[in-house]
């Protein structure tokens, strides 16, 4: 069985190799800080395997995370000057390779889809080929590896250090933003443990007007969106808002359609995800990957759609779910 942990180790190993390269990169004015940050991230990725299955204490990992926060947050990371091709060379290379360049790029999604749809159903000797519940992650990882092989073959690139170096310069230009999605997941968990959800539910119950259907629907949807903006994740908002408004008021008191209210309510939460920096993997990571000056660029592009869709979702529940 191919386990997801193997891929986390592989990602950790990639971070460690890149960190070792960074430590020796004299074009990077902050090479020691960068190497420390990415090296620590690599170690944390591997060590996490034992934290996840409960066989190692989580406290040292917590300390490592706080150290990474300080390294990234106080500006100890930087980037070197990549040894790469310039625009003129790239245009010439593009003319030489032509559309063959798309083959490896399209291999990643293709393999990912094949893994999650087909390979996920395979099993050898009663044991699934891919670890249960990790098909998507494994598909992405296997897809990236196969695509790398295909890419090196198509582009007749023999040296593995070339893609590693190219990947490292992408990593350096993204910087610490890469760590942010994981940290926000941590914050969401701490909010939950500390009882932020219960408080928000209590406040929502207090402002709930009695017996007005439109107001109750709007409160449920807006509540989902606002709570998602705070937590960065509609999944965290759903149980709280459903317990506070959705179930007792919209379903029990006003007799709505359970499937309609719940499904569309969740989508109202997604409107919040579109506009919150807390959902870093959807909003801030793309900004970093696309090397935008304004890290809120994607949020600004999505905000009007999010507002309109919130209105649509309220209308859909109000008109069709009762």
């Amino acid at each position: 069985m191919i386990r997801s942990e193997w891929f986390f180790w592989l990602v950790g190993a990639v971070f460690l190799i890149m960190a070792a390269q960074m430590a020796g990169d004299r074009t990077n004015p902050k090479r020691h800080g960068s190497a420390a940050f990415w090296g620590l991230l690599g170690v944390a990725f591997v060590y996490s395997s034992w934290v996840a299955d409960g066989s190692a204490p989580a406290e040292p990992l917590g300390v490592a995370v706080l150290v990474m926060i300080c390294l990234g947050g106080f500006g100890f990371t930087g980037k070197g000057v990549p040894r790469t091709t310039d625009d003129r060379e790239r245009t010439e290379l593009a003319a030489r390779w032509g559309n063959r360049l798309f083959v490896p790029a399209l291999t990643i999604p293709l393999v990912a889809v094949v893994c999650s749809v087909l390979v996920a159903k395979w099993s050898i000797g009663g044991e699934p080929v891919l670890e249960d519940g990790s098909e998507t992650i494994l598909g992405l990882g296997i897809g990236a590896l196969i695509a790398l092989g295909v890419g090196m073959w198509v582009l007749r690139e023999r040296s593995p250090s070339v893609p590693v170096h190219a990947g490292r310069s992408l990593l350096e230009s993204m910087g610490w933003a890469l760590l942010l999605p994981q940290l926000l997941a941590v914050l969401g968990a701490i909010f939950q443990t500390a009882g932020v959800g219960t408080q928000v539910g209590r406040i929502t119950e207090e402002v709930l007007p009695d017996g007005q259907r439109l107001a109750a629907v709007a409160l449920y949807c807006v509540g989902m969106a606002v709570f998602t903006i705070i937590m960065g994740n509609a999944f965290a908002a759903f149980p709280v808002m459903t317990a506070a408004v959705g179930w007792p008021v919209l379903l029990v008191q006003m007799d709505g359609s359970p499937a309609g209210v719940m499904a569309v309510g969740m989508l109202a939460g997604f409107c919040g995800t579109l506009v919150t920096p807390m959902a870093a993997n959807f909003n801030l990571v793309p900004a970093a990957l696309l090397e935008l000056k304004d890290q809120y660029g994607p949020i600004k592009a999505q905000a009007p759609t999010a507002a309109a869709m919130l209105g649509c979702n309220i209308a859909i529940i109000y008109f069709f779910a009762f």
Partner: protein, 276 residues
């Protein structure tokens, strides 16, 4: 009520554009302390949270192959390809991608797109190339380029969010059935939830698709305004930009005078460092 102060820390931190890592770190510690967790429990929360959320960082494994393809001209080829399709404007192209993303996600193929897999290597360069053609083949001024890239990412995310819930076996549908069926002792079918997601998906395509079509007009106006303010793009503005680039990076000095922008971007440091 006092635990909500952690939320206030986050809102203030993001609003005043402090370094997001520090904002999240401080908010996490503060909320933990206010929620009466011990320091050891807070450390454990950070550690456990990191360990269980590693899957969101696994896209880093795609970076070597993307980097290899980019240094061999992937983005330039994406531009060439889109340049051959005459009628395809930025807005129309992104609308097509939105439709494709929604449909594939609705059939359970969420991993077909994403910022690392499709937007950076293919979608954003293609959208930029379509805009450059409207600009007479000249590179885009920075604010316009940022807008095009932001919308490339936006189309990907909106398409995913309002497509995936039409699929039965997606996390959010399973969360709803799991939570409702166990908490309230009732029975909800994933299929009926997925069907209820269809009207919203259609609305999302109409709303965001219309916005993307209108984007073409907006880009044209902004390009015209930029031309008016900075000359025709071959004159003073161009020289000033070239000069600025040389001051930003050593290797820019070795570049040729052709202005395609992207290489300079990378050197000028945008994401984390640039945002502070």
């Amino acid at each position: 009520m006092v635990v909500l102060l952690g939320v206030v820390v986050v809102v203030l931190g993001f609003a005043t554009r402090r370094n997001p890592l520090l904002v999240v770190g401080v908010a996490g510690i503060a909320t933990g302390l206010l929620g009466e967790l011990s320091p050891a429990e807070i450390l454990r929360a950070f550690g456990d949270g990191f360990a269980s959320s590693r899957s969101v960082t696994i896209f880093a494994i795609t970076l070597p192959v993307i980097g290899l393809l980019e240094r061999n001209g992937l983005q330039q080829q994406a531009r060439t390809l889109i340049g051959k399709l005459g009628g395809l404007t930025t807005g129309r192209f992104l609308m097509l991608y939105l439709a494709l993303r929604q449909l594939t996600a609705a059939f359970g193929l969420q991993s077909i797109g994403g910022p690392a897999q499709s937007v950076r290597p293919m979608i954003a360069p293609m959208a930029e190339a379509a805009a450059e053609r409207r600009n007479g083949g000249r590179p885009l001024p920075e604010p316009v380029r940022e807008k095009v890239r932001s919308h490339s990412s936006g189309a990907d995310t909106v398409g995913l969010f309002f497509g995936e819930d039409c699929f039965l076996a997606i996390g959010s549908i399973l969360l709803i059935t799991g939570f409702v069926n166990s908490t309230y002792d009732t029975h909800l079918e994933p299929l009926s939830l997925a069907l209820w997601a269809v009207p919203t998906a259609v609305c999302a395509f109409l709303v965001h698709g219309a916005r993307l079509l209108r984007l073409d007009g907006t880009l044209e106006r902004e390009l015209a305004a930029y031309e008016a303010a900075h000359g025709t793009g071959n004159g003073a503005g161009h020289a000033a930009r070239d000069a600025a680039r040389i001051s930003l990076t050593k290797d820019a000095a070795t570049r040729t005078g052709t202005d395609t922008g992207r290489g300079a971007d990378r050197a000028s440091g945008t994401t984390g460092e640039g945002a502070e």
